[in-house]
Symmetry: C2
Subunit: 389 residues, 2 copies
């Protein structure tokens, strides 16, 4: 299979965007990506769209041809595929788009992600988010995404001595990064005590441990590395794209303090990219909950198992730290429109590797990693991008 | 890209299967396919699952890793991707699986489709089916799948003189075929007057013009043609797999008496397979409504535009006719569990090309075609399979 590059990116702001519908959002993101790649929409020969639950959120399935249509490209009749993998939907769309180009089946592909979440009630929100868990053995008995992550947090604290304050440090850092990101939903700093004193969602996780359900969309354009320089001076190479699965239910896992799907995907991704974790200059990881980021940096090899909390609290993962994590503000501060998140992660890495990340720029970054999880880890995707080529 | 073969197939009965959940259904189909391919489940290195709206039907998204898990294969951690494209979801899953093997990214892939539809009320059913149309400009204003197909039927009758009796002939033929298919939902013959006298759904379409919402699942196993003979004496080659899109809303089309997405996908599929429509020995087409089959045989080149009704009524598309259409009974008699239908079509073609279609066997069939549509044609997939190799 041939090398593939990201040649353009575009995203909406993430937030409570009452004035924009799902189709408005993904069209805005797609148009921006097409403009960023310096091409005409009619050059695109394939589309992949990740959305978790547009059917339940806004009553619309069959999203992919809708997106092509709304972009004014229905006359191209290109194949348009919607993929879904809980809140990893965007990352899976990215990987399918990557495979479509790597195989030679397609030349210029757009990969988008979108979710329009904020038009439903709080109880519907919990219900819909829980559809990425095991409906029959988790959600039916009252387990929600928050309570399942709460259990992971408690287990991690019990086994490794991770503290409430270390969890809070993740949120504080990501809000600090979000201040520097124009597209972030939350652009205000918070203090550790804000997290500790916030309303309890699922013990030990408070409101500030949880990423906000948001509206938003993001899109990227892929083509072969060979052709990429026609469109951009700074093509970003997809050095690895790996997906793995695990049991749908958390209670069926070997261990709830680690995600085997992430460990395995990371291992294969490092092998595909021909690098080790030490070579990665920055990473966007799945911080739907603060404990998620702590487990991610361990499972990706950026910290020893059980030491993720220490790494977070010591500043190692801060913008100026050893391995900057979630420079975009992460899902915590950027916002978490489920299907859009995986693509937004890619966009942050691309912008960093191109040196256009503004006030949150990581210096001399060559390799960036994006890790995304569906549900509590039944799907994991790890992508590694390379710049400076 | 390399040649790809179907080496195993499996499906459940289609019907109102109250004793089986979504996970029961897809597991049964997957296990049968694995057994038919003479392999162990742990040999599989990728899974694609098509389901249109499991989120709305049974409250479960994130279906793909669930399926792998239920099959007892969670310890393989293989990538598992759910795709959705309305009632073409199964066909799109098949095409993604095809691309995954053709590209060399995967070796042995399972492509499944499933829908568990009959646990919802009639009004929910209409609502959910309509999510594959344009939510904002069709469904919101009361248009349903049935009413949109009713409009297509009236336009076709007006422009080409297609008659109510010709529409009925499609249903009569498909029921006659369904009698011969052990997995079909309806195994009883009907007469033209049964169709004409049945309750009106959306003028001119009566109950017997519409495929029944059903529960069911289907799965197939794909591997490279080169490796296929290790598993089967009769590998079935995927000679072409093409997908195309069109506007999501029917009223935005150039013409509502033809589906441009189908015409284009068929044209490309014939080119990929290196054959013409005349070389096709049988086809499974999208008869969610009888007018759908009439338009399909025209758009696929089996009848001149406007003459599809005549072809249906004259027996040309019967089991013993010039070009047998929907030998399985089609969606009309086999049943139409949305996500499963596209895979079930492939299974019928495989069984026919392998000479194991029992009482409905088409003699000396070499090329079989499967055509699937999402919504009113915003997605179209055309697959051509070749046997006797």
């Amino acid at each position: 299979m041939r090398d593939v590059a990201v040649i353009g990116v575009g995203m909406t702001k993430f937030g409570e965007l009452w004035e924009q519908s799902l189709r408005d959002l993904i069209t805005e993101a797609g148009m921006k990506a097409i403009a960023d790649a310096n091409l005409s929409g009619s050059d695109i020969d394939g589309a992949y769209v990740g959305t978790m639950s547009a059917g339940k959120f806004v009553g619309q399935e069959h999203i992919a041809p809708l997106v092509v249509d709304m972009a004014g490209l229905s006359n191209t009749h290109i194949p348009a595929v919607r993929v879904e993998a809980g809140d990893a939907s965007g990352s899976v769309a990215f990987r399918e788009a990557y495979l479509a180009v790597a195989s030679g089946a397609h030349e210029l592909v757009i990969a988008g992600g979108v979710e329009k979440m904020t038009d439903v009630s709080s109880s519907q929100m919990v219900n819909i988010q829980s559809t990425s868990c095991d409906q029959e053995w988790e959600a039916f008995f009252g387990a929600s995404m928050s309570s399942l992550y709460g259990m992971m947090a408690r287990a991690h604290m019990h086994r490794y001595g991770t503290t409430r304050e270390q969890l809070a440090a993740v949120a504080v850092k990501n809000h600090a990064n979000g201040v520097l990101n124009p597209n972030a939903r939350f652009k205000f700093p918070i203090k550790p005590e804000d997290v500790l004193k916030a309303g309890m969602v699922a013990d030990p996780l408070t409101t500030y441990d949880c990423a906000p359900a948001s509206d938003g969309a993001a899109a990227v354009i892929l083509c072969s590395m060979e052709r990429a320089r026609k469109f951009t001076d700074k093509p970003i190479r997809i050095a690895a794209s790996v997906q793995a699965s695990d049991t749908i239910a958390l209670h069926d896992r070997r261990d709830i303090c680690t995600m085997d799907s992430v460990v395995l995907a990371a291992k294969k991704a490092y092998a595909q990219a021909g690098i080790t974790a030490e070579k990665v200059n920055l990473a966007e990881v799945h911080d739907a909950y603060t404990i998620g980021e702590i487990m991610a940096i361990e499972d990706l090899g950026f910290a020893e198992k059980g030491k993720g909390g220490i790494a977070a609290a010591s500043g190692e993962t801060a913008l100026t730290g050893r391995i900057p994590i979630n420079t975009s503000g992460g899902m915590k501060a950027r916002g978490h429109p489920l299907g859009a998140t995986g693509i937004a992660q890619i966009i942050e890495i691309v912008d960093q590797l191109k040196g256009r990340a503004g006030g949150r720029q990581v210096k001399d970054a060559k390799f960036g990693l994006a890790q995304s999880v569906g549900g509590t880890g039944a799907t994991a995707v790890v992508n590694i991008l390379e710049g400076g080529l």
